[in-house]
């Protein structure tokens, strides 16, 4: 099996509401996969189940680390899942508003570094070197995402588009193998969206990550994705290449009504 992420039969309930119903999904290495569907289809819930924020009622989630080792993610806390190489952004931006842009990204390095309390107090050479590595790699990510000018600004003072990019930067700092983006283009103007389109492609190439992307902007989805999954009412109703999905009658019905 080569898939980097393999989800089978994932279900989730909120009280009586079946938010996810037996969803299967695979992501191959370095693939960009889109997850689309009308509002309330359960896309964000799917992300939340993958990243350990909600416990799914049934189904399995397997992820293959870059080492080739396959591991089951069900039941792991969010931080362990991030450590295994899955990073995400949030639909409703969740930056650390009172921290600087750089610090936001530095936080992302947390799970790849190890200094503890004693290290912080005594600051031996190894810890200083680690801090330096954190700063340098964070700078590098910010440069690549075009946020160099604002590194020392507070995250809350950034314009909306930049905040979305910062979320991606922060996720990249966790050195993921799979990047989950929840509506990265939401609230962006057409120019920013076009830039984002290029950026996501670039990220995939530079960081060699697979990307699973929730997005309502069809232009972005169609031009970026290798494959598209379509959801409605918690169920997967279609999967295929952009061309196949565009022609799929179930998808057309879901989006345009009867």
């Amino acid at each position: 099996m080569t898939a980097i992420l393999k989800v089978t039969g994932l279900s989730m309930n909120f009280g009586g509401l079946r938010a996810l119903d037996d969803v299967d999904l695979r992501v191959e290495p370095r693939e960009i996969v889109a997850l689309i569907g009308p509002n309330g289809a359960g896309k964000t819930t799917f992300f939340n189940c993958l990243t350990g924020i909600y416990p799914p009622v049934s189904g399995t989630i397997f992820m293959r680390a870059s080492s080739g080792k396959q591991s089951r993610l069900n039941g792991l806390p969010p931080n362990k899942i991030t450590a295994k190489g899955m990073a995400r952004t949030f639909q409703n931006i969740r930056l650390f508003p009172e921290m600087t842009v750089l610090e936001n990204v530095m936080i992302g390095c947390h799970c790849r570094t190890s200094a503890g309390i004693l290290g912080a107090v005594f600051r031996p050479r190894a810890v200083r070197a680690e801090e330096q590595r954190i700063v340098d790699s964070s700078y590098k990510i910010l440069t690549r995402l075009g946020l160099t000018d604002v590194v020392n600004d507070l995250a809350r003072n950034l314009p909306y588009g930049a905040q979305r990019r910062l979320e991606i930067a922060r996720a990249l700092a966790t050195e993921p193998a799979l990047l989950l983006l929840d509506e990265p283009a939401a609230g962006m103007n057409p120019r920013e969206t076009a830039e984002l389109n290029q950026l996501i492609g670039k990220i995939r190439d530079i960081y060699e990550v697979a990307i699973l992307l929730i997005e309502h902007d069809m232009k972005l989805v169609m031009s970026l994705s290798d494959r598209i999954y379509v959801m409605e009412y918690g169920r997967r109703i279609a999967v295929g290449t952009p061309v196949e999905v565009k022609k799929n009658p179930a998808v057309i019905k879901a989006y345009l009504g009867e």
Binding site: T51, I53, P77, P78, N79, T82, A83, A87, R88, F90, R94, L95, F96, P97, E98, M99, T100, L102, E103, M106, I107, G108, H110, C111, R112, T113, A115, G116, I117, G119, A120, V121, R123, V127, R128, E130, E131, Q132, I134, V135, D136, Y139, V151, N152, L154, R170, A173, T174
Partner: protein, 410 residues
């Protein structure tokens, strides 16, 4: 123009309050003589009072709005960017604190020692509340743990101050973790209530478990710290304790400053800012929370030992909720997460009441008023925290870092 508008609004507020309070404040029924007393003067008082309070709040709100637009004036950034002024200030403070016990009376030295102890308590709680954002209302419990560990270890095993100091700190840290476990899932108000309960539980145990803690009568004759085995006179001992407190303050500032600029410190701030995002970034919430509780409690434990040694007598009455509230106020007033702010606030909080004894009756009133005003005018505290900046390729050569420990905390 604006002012007239505000006066008009305040006037309406006053009218409304007079109307609302009319039944309770004005009408008084005298059932014996079947008379109704109309207390019109109360009405006037309510009117005047509510007018002025409303007007004050309005002005404060206006000031706050304009203050928010201005860059924060009191961030001390200017000072830290000016090394000469900075070092001179530091030298003056250092000199002053060194000669303080020799130029002031033993009484004043003792008060200053107390103030320094509150500085440490404030800095310790600042880790939990200011950095990690965990509202802990039972902080005094760890203070009590420290004090009782020294008192009891000394009573039963004859352990001295210097041996008890680290033991007390570690015991308090252990209690911090013990409290941390059950409250891992709680946040905000819920956390506050449970920690409040924890503080009270510790106090009640100390009060009622007579065989263990000698109950409300407490433990007396706790020895003062000894200097290389020499027993000091009372006056000398006061000075000695002062210097121990001073040393501990410097130690605390050093450690807290390094902590908050570290990987762990950043994780604490991230936890405060957004718990879910923090976890999604790969931070182990459980560990980082427990670390915050333990680190915060450590300082309280240390000060507790010092407190027992300083007063030579402790009983549960020293560890009431009021203490927790004062320490928390120091953190809030000083500016959450700002070391200098907490130091200033702690000194103000302890020294002002001592020197303004004339107003002792109004202490709590003033205290409350100051807190309310602060929340309106300067919610970020006396000194807002300036986030540290980093330079690519040279963390260790960073100017702020080279200036040594104290620059970073500004």
């Amino acid at each position: 123009m604006r002012i007239i508008n505000e006066i008009k609004k305040s006037f309406l507020v006053a009218l409304w309050f007079m109307f609302l309070t009319f039944p309770i404040m004005v009408i008084k029924v005298n059932p014996l003589e079947k008379l109704i007393v109309w207390r019109w003067h109360n009405l006037a008082m309510v009117g005047i009072a509510s007018f002025f309070i409303s007007f004050l709040l309005r002005c404060a709100g206006r000031w706050r709005k304009s203050a928010a637009r201005r860059p924060p004036a009191l961030t001390m950034k200017g000072l830290s960017n000016n090394p000469r002024a900075y070092y001179s200030a530091l030298a003056v403070i250092a000199l002053f604190s060194l000669v303080f016990p020799f130029i002031f009376s033993a009484y004043e030295t003792s008060i200053m020692t107390t103030a320094l102890m509150y500085v440490i308590l404030g800095l310790g709680l600042n880790i939990v509340v200011g950095l990690a954002g965990l509202l802990d209302l039972g902080y005094v419990a760890f203070y009590a743990v420290g004090a009782y560990s020294y008192a009891l270890l000394n009573y039963h095993f004859g352990l001295g101050f210097w041996v008890s100091l680290p033991i007390g700190a570690m015991l308090a840290a252990a209690f911090g973790i013990l409290l941390g476990f059950p409250v891992l899932r709680l946040r905000g108000d819920y956390l506050a209530i449970v920690t409040l309960g924890f503080g009270e539980i510790i106090r009640l145990i100390l009060e009622n478990w007579n065989d263990f803690s000698f109950g409300p009568s407490g433990i007396a004759n706790i020895p003062r710290p000894s200097l290389f085995g020499i027993n000091l006179s009372l006056a000398a001992s006061t000075i000695y304790v002062y210097f121990i407190a001073l040393l501990l303050v410097i130690f605390t500032i050093f450690v807290v400053n390094r902590l908050q600029d570290s990987r762990i410190g950043r994780a604490w701030i991230a936890l405060r800012e957004d718990e879910i995002a923090c976890q999604a970034m790969g931070i182990d919430k459980t560990r980082i929370k427990l670390a915050a509780f333990a680190m915060g409690a450590t300082w309280a434990g240390m000060v507790g030992v010092l407190f027992a040694a300083k007063t030579t007598f402790i009983n549960p009455a020293s560890f009431t909720f009021m203490e927790s509230a004062i320490i928390l106020s120091i953190v809030v007033l000083g500016g959450m997460g700002s070391i200098i702010g907490v130091v200033i606030a702690a000194l103000l909080f302890v020294l002002l009441p001592e020197y303004l004894r004339a107003f002792a009756d109004y202490r709590m009133l003033l205290f409350g008023a100051v807190m309310v005003l602060m929340m309106i005018v300067r919610p970020q505290g006396i000194i807002g925290k300036v986030r540290r900046t980093y330079v690519r390729g040279q963390v260790t050569g960073d100017k702020r870092q080279k200036n040594g420990i104290i620059t970073n905390l500004l």
